[in-house]
Amino acid sequence: MSGAVSGAHAAASEGLPTGAARVDAARRAAGRPVHTEPAAVRIALTLVALAFLALFIGLPLVVVFVEALKRGLAAYASALANPDALAAIRLTLLVAAISVAANLLFGLVAAWAIAKFEFPGKSLLITLIDLPFSVSPVVAGLAFVLLFGAQGLFAAPLAAWDVKIIFAVPGIVLATIFVTFPFVARELIPLMQEQGTAEEEAAVSLGASGLSTFFRVTLPNVKWALLYGVLLCNARAMGEFGAVSVVSGHVRGLTNTMPLHIEILYNEYQFAASFAVASLLALLALVTLVAKTILEHRLAEEDT
C-alpha cells in the first residue's frame, strides 16, 4: 500500500535482477518479442480492466459531480454557503488539522524509536500501531464512548472539571487521531529501518548534538515519505465516518463533520445539497491522488 515499500522493491530489483527480468533480458537478447500472449488477448484484458475501473470508480465520481451540479451553479453555491454546511466544513478542517499534526508528531516519534533503537516491548508496539487498521472504526468510536461518555470510566472526573468529550469536538478529534494513527508511522518505519543508524552515528562523531542530528540528518532523509504519510493521514481524517459518527452526536452546526453532514442531507432527501458537499470530499480525493503520484515519483527518485 505504501510508496516506501514499492520503492524498496525497486531498489532490490535494481541490484539483483529478478527471475522475470532476467528472462526478459534473455528474450530481448535473442531478438524475439517479449510478450507471451497474442495481441488480441492483451487488448481484451486491458479493455476489461479499463471497463471495470470506469464502472466502479470513474462513474461514481462523475455521478457525484453531476448530481451536485444538477440544479445549476447557483444552487450548488447556496448549498455550500448554508451555515450548517459551512460549520461542517470548518469542523472537518479543524479536526483534520489537529489530528494530522498530532499523528505527524506521534508517528515520527514512534517510527524513530522503533527503527533506531532496541527496547523491550518493541514488537508489541509495532503490533499496536497496526491496531486501528484492523479494528472497525465503529468499535473504536464505541470504545471512546465507554471511556469518556456519560456512563463511562472517566465520567466522574470529567464531570467534575466540566469537560465534555463525547458529543463534542474533543471526542471527534480523539476518534480521528485513533483511526489515522498508523498512516505516518507505517510509512516511516520500513524506510528508517532500511536507512539504519550509520548516518546518525557519523553526524554525532562529527560533533552534532542529538537535536541537530535529528533535524539535519534523520528528518531530511525521510521527508518525502513523511509528506506521503501526512497526505494519506489527511485524506482519511477528512473522510472518516464510522468512528466519528459514534462519538459526534450529530448536532447540526456544532458536531457535524462533512461526511456526517452529507449523510443527514441525503436522509432528508436534499440530494443536490448532499452531493454538493460530497463533491468537495471527492475533489479532495482527486487532489490527494495527484499529490500522491508526485510524491511517489519523488520517493522513487530518492531510492535510486
Binding site: 550509520a198 548516518e199 552515528e201 557519523a202 553526524a203 554525532v204 562523531s205 562529527l206 560533533g207 552534532a208 548534538s209 541537530s212 539535519r216 540528518v217 531530511p220 532523509n221 530518492e302 535510486t304
Partner: protein, 349 residues
C-alpha cells in the same frame, strides 16, 4: 595522540565481544586491527570512538580518560564501513557538516568553512565532485568523501572501519597506498579495522591480530607473519600446512615414531606442527619425517599444490603441500614431506 586501552571487556547478551583487551598505540602510528569476523575488532574500534561503551576497562587519549567524554566530544575522525555519507547532501555539504554543526565560539564564518572544505577536497583529489550527491559517486570516490568529511574536524585520531571492504580489488590496492601516504602527511594516529591480511600487512606500522575477543599478537607485519605467537595467528595469517604430532621431552613424534625434529620449550602432549607451504619440501618417502599418498594435484598460479594423505593414528589427515613445477609427480604416488622451517604448538584438547 596516544591511545591506551586497558582491560576492556564488552558483552552483547551472552556473547563476549571483547575479553580484557589491552593495547597501547603511540602518536602518529598506523595500527591495523586484523581478525576474522566476530573477533571483536570492530567493537574495539567503536569503543575507542565512543560509539560503544565497554562493560569494564579504560580508554585513555594522551593519558586522559576518554570514557568520560561522549563521541561528540572526543574529536575522533571515523570512517564508516559503508561510508554512511549523508544521502541528501552533496559532497561539499557532507564534508562541511562537521564545521557547520559547531556552536558558539567554535563557529566558523562561511568563508572559512568554504576554504577548509575546498582544501580537504583537493587533498583527497575530488574537488571536481563537490556538487555531486553520494548516489552519483563510485565506491572509491565515496571513500574519499568519507575520509575528507572525517578529516574536516581536524581529528588527532582517525578510525577506519573496513575502509576498503566495499571496493573492487584494483581500486582497493590503489587507495591503500594513497591512504598510507595521507597518514604520513597528516598529524594523526590511525587505527584501521580489516579482515584482509594483505591490507593489514602492507599498510600498518603494527598489526594487532584478534580472535574470539582477545588479542592474539601485536607486532610489526614481519613479526606476525614470520614469528606467529599462537597457532591462531599462524593459521590466520598467510597459508599454513598443519601436520599432526606429539611432543615428548622436547622432541617430536608421530604415531609413536620419532621424527627427528626438535620442539624445544613445548610442553609434552599432542601437538600441531605448523609450516608455510613453501617451507615443506618433498622428499623420497623412506627418509622423510612424514610420508603419504598424493590424492590430487592442482595448478595454482606459478606453483602446484598436492593434497597428501598422511596416516594419523587410526585415521588420516590431508595436508596441502607446494610442489615445484619441474618435479614429475602423479596422483597416487607415495611422497615424503620434510618441514624445513616450522613452529610447534600444543594441540587443543
Amino acid at each position: 595522540m596516544t591511545i591506551e586501552v586497558a582491560g576492556v571487556t564488552k558483552r552483547f547478551k551472552n556473547f563476549t565481544a571483547l575479553d580484557h583487551v589491552s593495547l597501547a598505540i603511540a602518536t602518529g602510528e598506523l595500527v591495523a586491527l586484523l581478525g576474522p569476523s566476530g573477533s571483536g575488532k570492530t567493537t574495539l574500534l567503536r569503543i575507542i570512538a565512543g560509539l560503544e561503551w565497554p562493560d569494564a576497562g579504560e580508554v585513555r587519549f594522551d593519558g586522559q580518560d576518554a570514557l568520560a567524554r561522549s563521541v561528540r566530544e572526543r574529536n575522533v575522525g571515523f570512517v564508516f564501513q559503508h561510508y554512511a555519507l549523508f544521502r541528501h547532501m552533496n559532497v561539499f555539504e557532507n564534508v562541511a557538516f562537521g564545521l557547520r554543526v559547531r556552536k558558539g565560539a567554535d563557529k566558523l564564518p562561511e568563508a572559512a568553512i568554504r576554504a577548509k572544505v575546498e582544501e580537504l577536497l583537493s587533498l583527497v583529489q575530488i574537488d571536481w565532485l563537490a556538487e555531486r550527491y553520494p548516489s552519483q559517486l563510485s565506491g572509491g570516490q565515496r571513500q574519499r568523501v568519507a575520509l575528507a568529511r572525517a578529516l574536516a574536524i581536524s581529528p588527532k585520531v582517525l578510525l577506519l572501519d573496513e575502509p576498503f571492504g566495499a571496493l573492487d580489488a584494483k581500486v582497493r590496492k590503489e587507495l591503500r597506498r594513497w591512504l598510507r601516504h595521507l597518514h604520513e602527511e597528516l598529524p594523526v594516529t590511525s587505527v584501521l579495522v580489516t579482515h584482509d591480511q594483505e591490507e593489514a600487512l602492507e599498510l600498518a606500522d603494527r598489526v594487532v591480530v584478534m580472535g574470539h575477543g582477545r588479542i592474539e599478537q601485536v607486532g610489526s607485519p614481519a613479526e606476525v607473519y614470520d614469528a606467529p605467537a599462537t597457532a591462531f595467528v599462524h593459521d590466520f595469517i598467510g597459508e599454513t600446512v598443519a601436520l599432526p604430532g606429539e611432543v615428548r621431552a622436547g622432541a617430536l613424534y608421530h604415531d609413536g615414531r620419532p621424527l627427528g625434529l626438535a620442539a624445544a620449550g613445548v610442553p609434552d602432549g599432542p601437538a600441531r606442527i605448523l609450516a608455510r607451504p613453501h617451507h615443506v619440501d618433498l622428499a623420497p618417502p623412506g627418509t622423510a619425517p612424514f610420508s603419504g599418498r598424493v590424492r590430487a594435484l592442482r595448478a595454482f598460479g606459478p606453483t602446484r599444490r598436492a593434497d597428501v594423505e598422511i596416516a594419523d593414528g587410526a585415521g588420516t589427515v590431508v595436508v596441502e603441500a607446494a610442489v615445484p613445477l619441474d618435479l614429475a609427480i602423479e596422483a597416487g604416488a607415495l611422497v615424503g614431506l620434510v618441514p624445513r622451517a616450522y613452529k610447534v604448538f600444543p594441540a587443543k584438547a
